[in-house]
Assembly symmetry: C2
Homo-oligomer: 542 residues x 2
């Protein structure tokens, strides 16, 4: 089902229902930027510095499509599955939000049939979880106060301000018009349309003070974004209450639409269901930023944040690059995985698609988030079937999946396969790696020449004047710094030392010239101290 | 005519032709962001600080549609006009460009029928004027060198590098395949598709060295963004030259498409024609940034930049808020101006639309840049007709327009009506204005109370804790600082002093704690010294 602003309120209950019903949920996102600076890769980075680098690079980009497919065992046949898919357009409408787009990314999405006109005119709004709670609280408080005031029959004049001399005439004129309106028999309402915000505030408080028992005033949207006031005669108390409650319901509904997709994010989190996604590191970064606010600088804090919201995630790209599946699947790119899963090597359970959006495997809708969430779930079914997991066990509590759960595939790091959300990450030795800087005239051969005494090397260029050099014969690692010699314009630094100088840790701050205040230094120490002890309690599963 | 990537090369000559033919040219732009922070306005700012503030706020937004309508006197009737319109979609395709979008702006454009799918898939590329020249130069140089080498029959091995030991096997294997290919009789070509960039470089240089007289090698795009090499048998010299020249033409054509809209920008500049635009301050900022690069911080340098590229611009919004036209036109919003121009108060000359895109006044295509450029031109015709200017005089040299030319309408500055591109700007006194900060609990009444000894005041809120206060009775201006007294948590600063502290001038830098180097301070002084003398030579028209 395609979810837009126009059908969101109507379809939300159905989405929440299938989230509750699901055994597991496939998800996928489309974003406004990918920014893959693959040329300048950092293959020897730790997961922490990888996270740190990319969460900064991707700032300002947003999720514009969220695909969800809920899967559950068929009620009549425990070997089959049923599923329901939703393809949701997300767009920060009606607010002064500014976000970033990457040219090539839009180009790619539009080329794959993504409808940006639909997105910009009918995308569903969203906000952070925090803002959603705050806005709901504010509205409830406002309604409660107004309700109390309505029944008490007394105006609340506590916030009224004195009318400034130069505005007195405006207020007098408004009063005259209200008096005239009250004298007239047939006039149903009077509309004030020529006052500025401050003047409207003065008129509202004058009405509340002077005409409380006679007229009601409410805001009215005029053309060209201007605002006015409609004045009507006071009704009986019962009528007033009825009107007020209707208005409350309208305002609540409006707020629900503004909170939009955040309802779904919250429901996914609350359900604690098994979330299945393919290659989800970036997806998690975007998702958490869009729905929980700015991300922590520290990877451990990010892991905790993700795990608190989604305690059961499974990355199918990690799954199919591990153990027995690795050789059967081959390439772990999603369409290739699907191809393998449909081959005779695997057995696909029967899947019945329900609802309005019935994807099939023969659709060719790659990069439509709803379709990708569907095929991610389908692959997951075939892969777990191959691992001998029964359909009825395919959920957050599945013991056979425990070692794969909460491990997120990470691309392009030497000897590191994943980011472990519930424990420490792999930290392969980088003793044989060096960061080298040199004149911009240098080519591969110059670097090879410079390291000629230490056997064959692997070179990873960073830019025109720097590269990483990894020794193939690690036994030479210790002798490099001792015997490579100093040449003007060339520096060689052991990798660990280099990365340390790059990371925003407090160790490094001490080495830098004093530029930040003592206080911020203290804060950093405090932060570092609390991090390790808090984030992985003894009972976590690592 | 709608101009997209698909018809750009075909239509470019027609666009350049009408620019040359035009008496004046109406233009209009659509952008990805407007960011009107109207709530926090700064009505007492100078034009310089206004420019400085907005050019920063609008960073990262881009022009996505350029409308051009060229007008000229009808060849058969000097009381009539002919015109031709072009509506051009601009999009930085095929490059890793990142830009910003404002939610409400896209919403607005999409709501007005702007086709973003078309933009992202078929928008015409562009680059800065500087990059265009550089790219053209580089390609010409490359062609020249290759041409020379082709005729000399000698390979250029000067940039060849030594084959690293570990790559020797790759090179040997490639040579074996080429030898096998040369021995075969029927094989037309051989494709290498499994080498990385560095290996391909080694193979190219090996072919150039070892097989120069026997085979030709050229790059080939493979699927999934991979690159390969195609090897064919060497042709006769004539055949080789013919093939080479064809390839050159192809590469030139490809580069022309990449330079795209920049051709039009350059032609508009070179033509020195009268450019007519409505409310063009922001348009000029966007246009100059997109086609000439990052903008100068200093307004005078920006004025010089604009004037160097476009020596004859006329803002119809400035025109119709001036003198005799002001009262006849009323509201200066473009559709309202058009309404006035079509009323009996004005006389519209007959206009014949030529070309494929024939806009008429009864189209309702507001916010399509092509249409807006058309109606801007139409309004200009009616307004100048009212001023008694003859059709034949409507061009860059028109004496009766001289006082309106190069003056750009500026919105929301107290007692300042325009930015003068060829002279100093209005600098009305701000002696009666004060910048005030106070606790966030303060309301209008508290500020009025604080200034009660100085007569009625006008308040412009900046944020919750600061505002500008302007005295209505200016005779009190001098006494404020002397007698207002000090209150904890409240500051009152004369406007000039406040603005001075905000501006990035070197005066201010001196006041700040030493943070930048002496050198940059010296640069700033040097810059300030050259600015005034250089930018407005004695013969400029102010």
């Amino acid at each position: 089902m395609e979810i837009l602003e126009t059908n969101f309120n109507e379809k939300l209950p159905e989405i929440l229902e299938v989230i509750e019903k699901a055994d597991f949920i496939g998800i996928d996102l489309e974003f406004t930027g990918l920014n893959q600076t693959s040329t300048f890769s950092h293959p020897f980075a730790s997961v922490a510095s990888f996270y740190n680098r990319i969460q900064k690079t991707f700032e300002g980009f947003i999720v514009i499509q969220l695909g969800i497919t809920a899967f559950w065992v068929h009620p009549d046949d425990e070997k089959k599955f049923q599923c329901k898919s939703f393809n949701i357009y997300l767009y920060p409408r009606g607010r002064k939000s500014v976000f970033r787009f990457e040219g090539s990314c839009l180009d790619f999405l539009a080329g794959n049939g993504f409808d940006f006109n639909k997105l910009f005119t009918k995308g569903v709004a969203y906000c952070s979880v925090h803002d959603a709670e705050k806005l709901k609280g504010q509205l409830a408080k406002k309604h409660k106060e107004k309700r109390k005031q309505l029944i008490s029959k007394e105006p609340d004049v506590s916030s009224h301000i004195q009318v400034p001399e130069q505005e007195q005439e405006v207020v007098n004129k408004a009063c005259e018009e209200i008096d005239k309106f009250l004298e007239s028999a047939d006039q149903e309402e009077v509309v004030f349309d020529s006052y500025n915000g401050f003047q409207r505030k003065l008129i509202y408080q004058t009405i509340e003070g002077k005409y409380f028992t006679q007229v009601s005033a409410s805001p009215k949207d005029l053309e060209r974004n201007r605002k006015g006031i409609v004045i009507t005669r006071k009704k009986t108390l019962d009528e007033e209450i009825k009107l007020f409650e209707e208005k409350c319901q309208e305002e609540i509904k409006k707020l629900e639409t503004e909170i939009g997709v955040t309802h779904i994010f919250q429901a996914l989190s609350k359900s604690r269901k098994l979330l299945v996604c393919h290659n989800m590191f970036l997806d998690l970064i975007y998702l958490m930023r869009q729905f929980t606010g700015p991300l922590p600088e520290d990877l451990d804090e990010f892991k905790k944040l993700v795990h608190d919201f989604f305690p059961n995630v499974l990355d199918t790209k990690h799954l199919c690059t591990k153990e027995v599946l690795k050789e059967v699947v081959g390439s772990s790119v999603l369409p290739h995985v699907l191809e393998a899963c449909r081959s005779s090597l695997f057995q696909l359970p029967e899947i019945e698609s329900l609802g309005d959006q019935k994807y099939t495997l023969d659709d060719s809708k790659e990069h439509e988030a709803g379709y990708d969430s569907f095929i991610t779930g389908v692959c997951f079914l075939a892969l777990t079937n191959h691992l001998g997991i029964l359909p009825k066990d395919l959920n957050a509590n599945c013991k056979k999946l425990k070692s794969f759960k909460n491990k997120i595939f990470v691309l392009g790091l030497d000897n590191i396969t994943c980011c472990n959300l519930t424990g420490p990450d792999e930290k392969p030795s980088r003793e044989h790696v060096f960061h080298v800087t040199f004149p911009s005239t240098w080519k591969n051969t110059d670097i090879i020449q410079h390291f000629k005494n230490f056997g064959p090397i692997q070179i990873k260029w960073i830019n025109e004047t720097s590269a990483y050099v990894a020794l193939q014969q690690r036994e030479y690692s210790q002798s490099v710094m001792k015997s490579i010699g100093r040449y003007p314009g060339v520096t060689v630094v052991p990798y660990a030392e280099y990365e340390d100088a790059q990371s925003p840790h407090e160790d490094r701050k001490r080495k830098l010239p004093v530029s930040s205040s003592q206080e911020s230094g203290e804060k950093a120490v405090k932060k570092a101290k609390t991090t390790t002890s808090k984030i992985f309690p003894e009972n976590s599963d690592w």
